[in-house]
Symmetry: C2
Subunit: 385 residues, 2 copies
């Protein structure tokens, strides 16, 4: 059976080179990544079964080796350009196997990078590694690979563009499905139908259809609730292609919007525009956040802004989060300088608990001269009856 | 804004009583859970934003307190019956806040249960807790709450039944959408539309539409692939209501099935039946696994069974896994005795790499006298043109 790779092997090799350059700076002999996105980034390997232990061992010199559940071998054969894999059966302790593999390959006394901030390395498995590799030095390498993921290649941007097309199709279908008296589930049904017909894979988060009081709660979502006149609805939709994600948010008023909702939606739209217009090479993360917050401040809505950030890097993701906010968030006092090739999702939500919620967002590419919106959808407060 | 609880407060209180009884046995003064399902189980609190740090502190004597991201406060007010919450902003270290909270409440020198096997407690946060609580004794409490979740209450079973109805509707829509020449995305689009119209929430895993070579790979899934005559398709679909999940698998032949595919599908169906017929109070986990494997053995297909288990507990779940396999899997030599109120998903997949895949599954309740299938869908190898 032939390989199915999202990128040329050369691109995977370049990524490996960049990671190894960082490993040299950090003095690592070998790096063990337990983060599904990092494993995919470096090897092409992916499975929805990442809830079982898996890791990629990346030596500074030798070829990487994948450690995975035996049942997942088919995904290795199909999606991974590497040739070396070691499998475990469910009754084995896979962290023990990882430690043995490291020892067998000459890393018993090495300086080993391990991602202490990775969800899918549990403290239990970490302690197993530590105990079994008593003569090695385990150092935190959280972010070592992630930092290489910040700047997207043209091919990566192309996948995000395709994901954006799916998100836009789903947004239109969701808006069209909103009527007084239908349930939020009906809206979600049409949204998903359009999303997948437009080519999306399973998404990493959401989508969110937050109607009425749910629009006033961060991450509020559908639950067989009837849509009523007078409600605000926040729609937040991600498309996903080759695990690259694009996010898009819009707001709907069910029936004629009140002055208050119009004010909130206008502020959100303007704050969002201020945020993306602040995105350019040389601007800092904090600059973008300030530009966004200033609009809410001026509109007298800053107290309703519960977010501590105005956006976050977006790219490769598996559930439960589509963002790369742990890599880079656009937030207060963050001096990180934006560079061409970075991609951000910038949600500008404002929520008045129990009253209204409104939000606009775009997925934005930093270009050599400024920025480009990768999402493309009318920026209006939509009204549905 | 009124509370929205999936269960009476009395049921949450009973759960807390059961957990505290176990805490006494384990000698814990306080238990800190970082597992989203455990937090939901004990407090009613839930958010899709569990990718940010959150935990529930459960003292043996005093009321529990939730530690969560400030932006999520609305979800606390709406979904949590408890009254005590402490919030952090994104730039804070939330594990430090947890340690301080424990110290402030008299647990600086206590015996503190922490779930070392929980995905959402990273090694980094665990090490922070350990360092900040140097005079306390941190002990592993992985599974303490989970064991209480194994036996479902009548109300919990009712939610799983509702989830099963959604999975069945989605299964029918998926089968109906399969035709030679359409893409797997089209099938997935109709599947989701039916799933959500039938009341499902966002699912914890999948669904899986694995056509052709993808049906021969565990967790193979859709990706804009054309469906061709002669392919096998494995459909695996979960419905989700109040975060309770039910799983259902069936197999489709595109065009007249070959003898080989018929043989594999027949073996899967019979093995699956043998598995669920072995489920009854007093049977062991290992009994069910042996009953299932014996059928594949007899059919000469045991070499193609890559699974090391014949099923797993299912119930509350957030992505990325719908199962409770880490609590109880039906596997070789496992002496765990089945009890009424347990619920299992039993997938009986058989895959010949690059050739065919076939699978049947049901979601099964252990009753006082035997078992009841909570999923209800024709058990056939479906043929579509």
């Amino acid at each position: 059976m032939e390989k199915e790779l999202a990128f040329d092997v050369a691109e995977y090799r370049q990524r490996l080179d960049r990671v190894r350059a960082r490993m040299r700076v950090e003095g690592l002999d070998v790096l063990v990544t337990h983060t599904p996105e990092n494993i995919l980034y470096l090897s092409g390997y992916q499975t929805p079964g990442y809830y079982m232990y898996q890791c990629l061992v990346v030596p500074l010199e030798a070829e990487p080796v994948l450690i995975l559940r035996r049942g997942e071998l088919g995904n290795f054969l199909r999606f991974c350009y590497l040739e070396d894999a070691i499998t475990y059966v469910d009754i084995q302790n896979p962290a023990d196997l990882t430690a043995k593999t490291l020892a067998n390959r000459g890393f018993a006394k090495a300086r080993i990078g391990v991602e202490l901030g990775s969800w899918f390395l549990t403290p239990k498995h970490y302690l197993t590694l530590q105990a079994a590799l008593g003569n090695a030095s385990l150092v935190d390498a959280t972010g070592t690979i992630e930092r290489c993921r910040l700047i997207k290649s043209p091919k990566e941007v192309e996948y995000i563009r395709q994901a954006a097309r799916a998100a836009e199709a789903a947004m239109q279908a969701a808006i069209d499905a909103i009527h007084v008296g239908v349930t939020d589930n009906v809206v979600v049904a049409e949204l998903h139908r359009a999303l997948f017909n437009a080519g999306s894979e399973y998404v990493a988060l959401g989508p969110f259809v937050a109607a009425g009081y749910k629009s006033t709660i961060m991450h509020g979502n559908w639950s067989r609730k009837r849509i009523e006149r007078g409600e605000s609805i926040i729609l937040e939709i991600g498309g996903c292609v080759q695990r690259y994600n694009a996010g898009l948010m819009r707001t709907v008023s069910v029936g004629k919007p009140s002055d208050r909702l119009q004010h909130m939606a206008k502020a959100s739209e303007e704050a969002n525009r201020a945020a993306y217009e602040a995105i350019k090479p040389g601007a800092t993360s904090g600059d973008v956040h300030r530009a966004c917050q200033a609009v809410f401040e001026k509109a007298g809505l800053i107290e309703l802004r519960r977010a501590n950030r105005s956006g976050y890097s977006i790219g490769l993701a598996f559930p439960p989060d589509w963002g790369e906010g742990h890599i880079l968030s656009l937030q207060e006092n963050d001096p990180t300088v934006l560079e061409p090739g970075m991609v951000f999702h910038i949600p500008s939500a404002v929520r008045e608990y129990g009253v209204y919620g409104a939000s606009f967002s775009e997925t934005v590419l930093v270009t050599p001269t400024g920025r480009e919106l990768l999402t493309n959808f009318e920026r209006a407060l939509f009204v549905r009856e």
